[in-house]
Symmetry: D2
Subunit: 183 residues, 4 copies
Amino acid sequence: MSRLNLIPAQEAPLAPEWVTTEWMNHKGTLRLADLRGRVVALHAFQMLCPGCVSHGIPQAQRIATTFPDVAVIGLHTVFEHHAAMTPVSLAAFLHEYRIGFPVGVDAPGPMAGVPTTMASYQMRGTPTLVLIDHRGRVRLHAFGRPDDMAVGAAVATLVEAAHAPAAAQPAAEGGCSPDGCLA
Amino acid sequence: MSRLNLIPAQEAPLAPEWVTTEWMNHKGTLRLADLRGRVVALHAFQMLCPGCVSHGIPQAQRIATTFPDVAVIGLHTVFEHHAAMTPVSLAAFLHEYRIGFPVGVDAPGPMAGVPTTMASYQMRGTPTLVLIDHRGRVRLHAFGRPDDMAVGAAVATLVEAAHAPAAAQPAAEGGCSPDGCLA
Amino acid sequence: MSRLNLIPAQEAPLAPEWVTTEWMNHKGTLRLADLRGRVVALHAFQMLCPGCVSHGIPQAQRIATTFPDVAVIGLHTVFEHHAAMTPVSLAAFLHEYRIGFPVGVDAPGPMAGVPTTMASYQMRGTPTLVLIDHRGRVRLHAFGRPDDMAVGAAVATLVEAAHAPAAAQPAAEGGCSPDGCLA
Amino acid sequence: MSRLNLIPAQEAPLAPEWVTTEWMNHKGTLRLADLRGRVVALHAFQMLCPGCVSHGIPQAQRIATTFPDVAVIGLHTVFEHHAAMTPVSLAAFLHEYRIGFPVGVDAPGPMAGVPTTMASYQMRGTPTLVLIDHRGRVRLHAFGRPDDMAVGAAVATLVEAAHAPAAAQPAAEGGCSPDGCLA
């Protein structure tokens, strides 16, 4: 597989705030805004999606282990079999699979079956990995099974940029602040 | 791994009839007695048991593919997280994982959490593979992750015996009938 | 994968004696005739054949572990890159890969590159697994990557037949002796 | 596995020029100096080292695929079984395993068995992955089986640094030139 192409910083859209009904592995509500300044790996999954269980979730766990300073966040984006993947079932799933990172339950949406955050991020399905840089911009949107080496490269690139001296940032990026991003 | 040791036919207990509340991938109730004359591979699992998902169920599917004349039967033996693994969730699980063999839902039992059939077969946990010969006797009881080569050997041995001419059967085996097995 | 079809005993050709130039992991010359009475798993490989290294040889090692009473025999059938796969290189290969079963070096043949035993067994390439029953007949000839469950089933079937009482053998098989097999 | 720690640029030693007797997949002699300006992934292996065949070489191939601008270079550092791993055997190995990147044969050394470049890089064994930055400094020295995500992160970090504007480089790094590195 070739390298994952990050969206250039100056073209990247600001990540929408996620909308959730509850959180597991985290007390209270975790907002994207709380994570500004950190690189975020948002892993959207369904607990009964085989590709999520065999590939996506283990990869998210490896991101968490490899990059302790990255915020790995799960998002349970149920768009089918709603009655089968309730929060009660999800809680047991997280327990049995030893998933320790915070997982939010995506809020039901107006569209047929597709939950709110999944729609606002325009996700095609699950698993989807979204990388958000330290300034809150969506830099990668990967559906399916990107391989570990390419994911490691993409995350590291964002982590490096987050640590780079501000002077190295092009002025054009100045439109983005913790409060928002001006076009 | 070394070979799985089959329980000798003359020492093998008659398999208890399973007790179920409903069946999936099968119309009506499927009774063990209906399968007499065939070798049965009974795979006990829980849909949120990681070892079942990654190892046990794929192995059961390979048994079904490799041995078309063997009856591969799933048994959903939920002994924890009962609210998380309801029949509704199980149905979605079977659909998403493309599981085509019949699956029975083990009936709740009097013991704390352990369902009826699981208790009567004295299973330690999930996944458990039970091999029942063509005369209804339990010949193998394997908890955990037996490897494919050993499982293939065990199943083939029972299939061979089922096809062997009756004359080759030791007289001592005559004590077993569909109704019971005399020591 | 479906089950491997064993050649029926009464149709199976007698396995040709192998012709080798030297043996490793065995003192002196090991002849097929020495193994009569035992089931033989003959694994033909080349040390620089990727499919042999990743699949065939590990599978042969699992046969040896699973079936202690089966004679697992390697045969180094070099039909290309002869200068690259000399006995000196083979010895290092066996050492590094911890291969403990006997390995014979197939004798050069008159045909372009194809060694003698490989030709007499009409092998298509490597890896090839040949199963020989306890009466010296070729019962399976599998090129490529048969899966473990099917191989386990095939080996077990031959082992069972080897242990079956003689009375169960069809009279027609009586034509086979250590010296040959009469149609 | 946690992230691989790169040696900080200002502490990293200049990579010694490799000493080879011949090259495969490359015409003429390939010198490290020829690659200055590019990130180099030097993969030291032995063709009969199981960990190299199953892990190291496939990982080097994935580096080459994921990072087209990185120079992936193999180095055949034979320190045992010398007669078994000759250039003739190596050429067949590279052909059979479809290895397309340049591979140099490390020159015999004065120490018992250990070849020259392996000694100058103070490698412990094979497989060893050495990452050299665009200014010729050894930034990573990993023996064994680092995982893909961590390797992807390390390579990407060096690639990013190679593309960063010169102004972002600390002045202290100016001490390194193609001819040497001043403390």
